[in-house]
Symmetry: C2
Subunit: 264 residues, 2 copies
C-alpha cells in the first residue's frame, strides 16, 4: 500500500480558501478530479483557516469532493471535535491526518482513529517538541506505536511522518531525515512512512526540481507514501521511474505501462 | 573536482558520424559549444566507428572542437597508437577515456596515462570479464589503482567507472552498483567515480526521467562525475538540485545562483 495524498484542497491555499468562502463547488470538483487522475490515492480536505467555521466548511468540502470522485479522503484537521462530526458523512474509510505523540493531540483523536479502521498519519514528535535528530524521531515513533497498537491499530495502518524541514534553512537535515526513515522501517517493517514532500524546497527557486530529487532519495530510504501535489510537473513520473531504478518494479513493467498510457 | 564529460561528439551517433565523414565542422562546433554552455567540464571526442580512419577523424574532431571552446577534451579511444599520435595536438591536459584492468588494455595505455598528467577513466573490470557483484568491481579497482599508483598516477586522477548496465534487463543491479560505489569511495576516498549515465535507461521509454532518478541515487552513493549529454532536459538542473538536497551545497547557494543565471 503506497499512499499518495493529494494535498491541493487546503484552505490555506489562496484559491481554495476563496472557493470555500464562496462555495465555488466547480473549483473544488476540478481540483479533486485532476488529483485523482494524476494518481492521488487519497484526496486531502483541509478547512482549518477559519476555526469557527471549520466544521461547516470541511463538511462542504467532503460532500463536494465525494460527489465527483471515488478516491477516499484524507481528513485533515487537528480538531477532534470536527473530525468526530464529519466522519459519519465520509463514504469510504478515510485516512486521518494527523495525530502526534503530543499528549493533547493523541488523546483527543485516539478513540476516533481506533474506530476508523483506516490509516492514520502520525507525526514523529511528542511533548518534547520537534525532534532534531534520528533518536528523537525514533523515540516518538515507538511511543505512538505502542499507544496505537494498544488500541488495536495495527502497524500497517500507521503512517509515520518523520517531519521534513526545508533544506534551504536546514542544510544538514536530509541525511538525518533519511537515516530516521531507514531506522524506523528497520525496527517496524510494517508501518508506512510519509512526508509533506514540498516542505523540502520551501524558500528555493524552481521547487519542482528539488522536490523530485528529494523524492528519489526518500523512496530509497524506505519512504513509501507522500503528501504532495500529484499534478505537479513530472512528480508522479519520477515516482514510477525511481521505483523502476530501485528494482521495485520488476522489469520496469509498471513504468512501461504508465509511459504507454501517457501518464508519464 | 566533479567531471562532467559531454558525450555527444561520438561517431557512433548517426549525425556525428555523418558530420565526421563530410567534415561538417559547423555541426561539430555547435555540439561543442552547446555542451560547454550546458556545463560540460570535458568534451568527449570519439571517432572509433571507422578504425582505419580513426587517427585522421579524431584529429579533425580535436582541431574542430578546440577551435571554438576552451573546455578540455576527453580523448575517447581504445587504440593506444591513436591516442599517442593525437595527444601532442591536444592543447589542454585531457582526460583519457578509458583504460581497464584487462591486461591488453592497460599495458598499451599505461605509458600515455602516466605521461599525460590528467585524469583517466578506468573501467572496473579485469581479465576475469565484466563483474556481476560488488567484490568483482572492488577487486578490479584495487588492482588498477595499484598499477596506476606505481606509475605515479595519484588517486585524485583516477576516475573509476563501476560499469552500469540497463535496469530494464538487470532489475536488481542498481543496489549492487550503488553499493560498489560506496565501498570504492570508502576504501579509496580520493578517487573519483564516473559512469555512462544513460546506460541505465537503455530500452526504456522516456529515458530522461529514469536518467535523472538514477543520477540522484548515484550522487548520494558517492559518484561525483558523469559521462552524459549535458544538453538533455533538466539533467544538469537535477545535478545541482541533488547536491543541494544532500547538503553538499551550503545554504543551496550554487543552486540559487544557477536558478538566477537561468541555467536550471
Amino acid at each position: 500500500m503506497a499512499i499518495i495524498v493529494g494535498e491541493r484542497i487546503n484552505s490555506t491555499r489562496k484559491k481554495i480558501g476563496e472557493a470555500v468562502r464562496k462555495r465555488n463547488s466547480d473549483h473544488i470538483k476540478n481540483e479533486a478530479i485532476n488529483q485523482a487522475k494524476a494518481g492521488a490515492t487519497y484526496i486531502d480536505v483541509n478547512a482549518g483557516t477559519n476555526p469557527d467555521r471549520e466544521f461547516e466548511d470541511l463538511l462542504w468540502l467532503i460532500d463536494t469532493v465525494q460527489s465527483v470522485v471515488d478516491v477516499p479522503l484524507s481528513i485533515d484537521s487537528a480538531n477532534p471535535g470536527v473530525v468526530e462530526q464529519v466522519l459519519p458523512k465520509v463514504k469510504q474509510t478515510p485516512l486521518i491526518n494527523s495525530i502526534s505523540g503530543e499528549t493533547n493531540r493523541i488523546e483527543g483523536m485516539l478513540e476516533l482513529v481506533a474506530g476508523n479502521g483506516g490509516p492514520v498519519v502520525a507525526l514523529c514528535m511528542d511533548d518534547a517538541g520537534l525532534p532534531e535528530d534520528v533518536d528523537g524521531r525514533l523515540k516518538a515513533a515507538r511511543s505512538i506505536r505502542k499507544i496505537l497498537n494498544g488500541r488495536g491499530v495495527t502497524d500497517d495502518l500507521i503512517v509515520f511522518d518523520p517531519l521534513l524541514r526545508p533544506v534551504s534553512t536546514n542544510p544538514d537535515q536530509v541525511p538525518v531525515f533519511l537515516e530516521a526513515c531507514r531506522q524506523i522501517k528497520k525496527e517496524m517493517p510494517d508501518v508506512h512512512l510519509i512526508c509533506g514532500m514540498s516542505n523540502i524546497s520551501f524558500g528555493l527557486p524552481k521547487r519542482n526540481i528539488i522536490n523530485k530529487a528529494f523524492m528519489t532519495l526518500a523512496l530509497q530510504a524506505g519512504m513509501d507514501s507522500f503528501v504532495l501535489d500529484p499534478t505537479e510537473e513530472g512528480i508522479m513520473a519520477n515516482y514510477y521511474a525511481t521505483r523502476a531504478v530501485l528494482g521495485c518494479d520488476e522489469y520496469c513493467m509498471d513504468y512501461i505501462m504508465k509511459a504507454r498510457d501517457g501518464s508519464l
